[in-house]
């Protein structure tokens, strides 16, 4: 479903990582751990197609990557002048999937802020909206970079629920520094 073969990324002469290999099937959840700067976020960006690998290959779920991959990260920004509803409508029209605006907003507890501009959102509310966009098309693979960062306790529980649901639907890759989150994974990949 989702995998890497001999994957490596280099910035200038420095290799972030080399020769990564893994294959994830439905029900699998890969925890990517490592110190700051070890390349966790870069690995997720590679899998999402946002960065090109320096070597190796990536196998993605079948179908259009815009619907078969979901991605949420701390450094992924949303449009400050648009509302949460407008983001979900925009994403659905671009991906050609059902908008599911109300169910998604209820799921991430943003119903009351649905018509508020994102510029007025807190960091945690933005993280919830990014989670909603990531799962909107019911992706086969979900990539989450530090999913609990900036979320309150209820938000962390929501992220855990989303990960558990995703494992029933497909695979999940989670980059995290929080060892408590390792229990959400079926495999662990530690980057040096």
């Amino acid at each position: 479903m989702l995998g890497a073969e001999g994957l490596g990324k280099r910035y200038g002469p420095r290799w972030l990582f080399r020769d990564l290999r893994f294959t994830l099937e439905r029900g699998d959840s890969l925890i990517v751990a490592g110190e700051n700067g070890s390349g966790k976020s870069t690995l997720l960006k590679l899998l999402a197609g946002l960065v090109s690998p320096s070597e190796g290959t990536i196998s993605l779920p079948t179908g259009d990557a815009r619907t078969s991959l979901g991605y949420s990260a701390l450094d992924l920004n949303v449009y400050p002048h648009l509302t949460a509803i407008e983001h979900l409508l925009l994403a659905s029209r671009l991906r050609g999937c059902e908008p599911q605006v109300q169910p998604l907003l209820e799921r991430v507890s943003l119903t009351r802020a649905a018509n508020q501009r994102i510029g007025e959102f807190s960091t945690g509310m933005r993280a919830r909206l990014k989670l909603a966009i990531a799962i909107q098309a019911a992706p086969k693979a979900l990539l989450l970079d530090e999913p609990s960062a900036s979320l309150d306790q209820a938000g962390r529980e929501l992220a855990e629920e989303i990960i558990k649901d995703q494992r029933e639907r497909g695979a999940c890759v989670i980059a995290t520094n929080d060892k408590a989150e390792w229990r959400l994974g079926t495999h662990v990949l530690e980057l040096a």
């Binding site: 946002l50 090109s52 449009y79 002048h81 050609g96």
Partner: protein, 227 residues
């Protein structure tokens, strides 16, 4: 064009318009720049008339700067505010280019109309013959098409570069020189100077230039969009 393409392009166009109406950065800056230019020319030439050729040159200088203030922003802003990755995850590059180019076309046409109208209203223009409104409008429409095509392409190509400001200037020079040449000829004829046929040919040439750059642009953009 399939309905999915139309949906994607219209979604991006609507997103650009919503952001512009709420952020008010591009259009307002361009309109203010146009107003200041026309008022300055009007004050400098108060009590005198200026030739249609000179007026056409002034209109094009103002139009060029007004568009360069706003148009490349639509791509560079995505990278500056960090939303480029969201767009890369959700949209196909051709749709992104056309959605933004459509928005730029609308924006620059509005600016060209306001700028042309202000020039005609506030500056006394002296030509070999009276103003030909349809040709003047055609040259402005051609200007909008050509500038939207050229500047969108330029903005798209440099958006992810570290030294994007320098690069934009370097790339835009060869792209905009033919536009300027055709544009001044078209507008001059519309304002009553020069040969009518030359003006008509130049205005149609501008439109063709716009169509060509909007047709080629997405393919160039797709090559740099994800890297």
């Amino acid at each position: 064009m399939s309905s999915s393409w139309r949906k994607e392009i219209s979604a991006l166009f609507v997103k650009e318009v919503q952001s512009e109406l709420r952020g008010r950065s591009g259009l307002l800056n361009s309109l203010l720049f146009s107003l200041v230019t026309v008022v300055a020319v009007s004050l400098a030439t108060f009590g005198h008339s200026i030739s249609a050729t000179f007026a056409a040159g002034m209109i094009w200088v103002a139009l060029l700067f007004a568009s360069s203030v706003a148009l490349p922003r639509c791509f560079t802003l995505e990278e500056e505010q960090g939303t480029g990755d969201l767009l890369r995850l959700l949209a196909r590059p051709h749709a992104v280019f056309w959605g933004k180019a459509l928005y730029n076309l609308l924006l620059i046409f509005l600016v060209a109309l306001v700028l042309g109208g202000l020039f005609l209203a506030l500056v006394e223009i002296r030509g070999d013959r009276p103003v030909i409104p349809w040709l003047f409008l055609l040259s402005l429409l051609g200007a909008a098409g050509a500038l939207a095509g050229a500047v969108t392409l330029c903005g798209a190509l440099v958006a992810q570069a570290a030294n994007r400001a320098t690069l934009a200037g370097t790339i835009s020079l060869p792209l905009l020189l033919p536009v300027l040449f055709l544009g001044v000829n078209g507008t001059r004829a519309g304002l009553g100077d020069g040969v009518l046929e030359t003006g008509l040919t130049a205005s149609i040439g501008l439109l063709c230039y716009g169509v060509a750059s909007l047709a080629i642009g997405p393919y160039l953009f797709a090559a740099v969009w994800k890297h």
